[in-house]
């Protein structure tokens, strides 16, 4: 099953068919989510209009963790079964995840100023997300640090797996430490503690981010495969 879809040629065909769908789905979800978030949902009784930052911030933070988990999963597959496509997927995920993490940090900072009165506080959640950002940067730096690309992929994969310890720490940091950042209110025991009028745009935005991730990932993977082919052709030409 895994090997069936991991064949690069079959992947190219499959991804070509999927690309327009993911792109279209992303646009539809993003427009619907943004409309509901900016116009269709009520302002918070306490936070006023600034609550709308949540619809950008929370899904970005979800995606930061989700991308890292995908990257670690792909790295594990790449290490165990030595599958080139898994290595490529991990490599292609890293910049996307780093962007989501950066987005979560920046929007969180913009949200923190009116709510907490500070651009940045050193609480457990913020600090651990910052560490996640540095892990992404380290991963990308390590990937590019070797002349031999497969060696870079292997080393970076080990780093991704080692850094995975940070993911549960981020997820549960708000429960383990008593911090300024509020605990999870969507995924918790006894159903979400958030009104449907706000939950719907939030989930729509989350879905939009996810399809966006799939879309960009497919694009990057295709680019990566084509670049590999170009490299092979060049090498063949060089060798006559």
């Amino acid at each position: 099953m895994l090997h069936r879809f991991a064949n690069p040629t079959r992947f190219l065909r499959l991804s070509a068919a999927l690309l327009p769908w993911t792109a279209g789905l992303t646009l539809v979800l993003l427009i619907a989510g943004l409309y509901l978030a900016l116009f269709g949902s009520p302002a918070d009784y306490q936070q006023g209009e600034t609550v709308r930052i949540m619809y950008v911030h929370v899904p970005a933070a979800w995606m930061a963790l989700f991308c890292y988990s995908c990257m670690a999963g792909a790295s594990a597959v790449g290490l165990i079964w030595k599958h080139p496509l898994a290595d490529m997927a991990a490599k292609a995920t890293a910049p996307i995840g780093a962007c989501f993490t950066f987005l979560a940090l920046v929007t969180g900072s913009l949200w923190g100023k009116p709510m907490w009165g500070a651009w940045w506080v050193w609480d457990a959640r913020l600090t651990s997300v910052l560490i996640l950002f540095f892990l992404y940067l380290g991963y990308m730096a390590l990937h590019n640090a070797f002349d031999d690309p497969t060696r870079g992929a292997r080393s970076a994969a080990v780093l991704a797996l080692v850094g995975f310890v940070n993911v549960p720490i981020i997820k549960f940091s708000v429960d383990w430490w008593n911090t300024l950042h509020q605990p999870s209110s969507v995924v918790k025991m006894g159903g979400p503690a958030i009104h449907p009028s706000m939950l719907t745009p939030l989930l729509l935005m989350g879905l939009a981010y996810t399809t966006y991730y799939v879309w960009v990932l497919l694009l990057r993977l295709r680019g990566e495969i084509v670049a590999g082919k170009v490299r092979a052709i060049r090498l063949r030409q060089a060798h006559g």
Binding site: I131, L142, A145, F146, D147, S155, L159, G163, N166
Partner: protein, 221 residues
Amino acid sequence: MRWAFEIMRRDLRLALRQGVDSLMAVVFFVLAVVLFPLGVGPEANILARIAAGVIWVAALLASMLSLERLFQTDYDDGSLELLALSPVALELVVLAKVVAHWLTTGVPLIVAAPVLAVLLDMDAQGFVVLIVALALGTPTMSLIGSVGAALILGARRGGVLLSLLVLPLFIPVLIFGVAAVDAAIGGFAARPHLMILSGLLIGAVALCPWASAASLRQSLE
């Protein structure tokens, strides 16, 4: 087991013969800490307040400095390949080398720390906890650092890269190490923080040799 002991002795002997090299970490540690009173100003109350944090951060950077050489020299002269081919498990080799590394760089840091604490006018109540916390924290850092040191073998600009890889992973040690000392100075129980540090150390002993050995194998492929 005897083999691992031999490898450790070899590393210790190498460190002793090279002499100055292993002392560099301590010299850096002392210098980095001494810079703070010059930068922040010599007021005793400010220095006493930041003493624990400064000592820990400097210890973190000092132990990172020496990490680059943990496998690099063996990798360059080929003895790492011989070690990998030897009947000893590579994980055990890593553990032996990490213990040797800790004995040559971590222990001097622990010895130097109380002197620096006096220089920074730290509250005397925190001294014992500082030493215990460093004794638990520095081997953890050597273990975590061994993963980074194994990953960068053969990389371009390995040293800078190492700091980017390893420093984020050092942060939990730093947080609980400083928290333990601050708790002791403030008159609270330092025990919970020390327990967490021990937990980190045990976890690192269990997991890091495997990750290091895995990346060493890749570097030798």
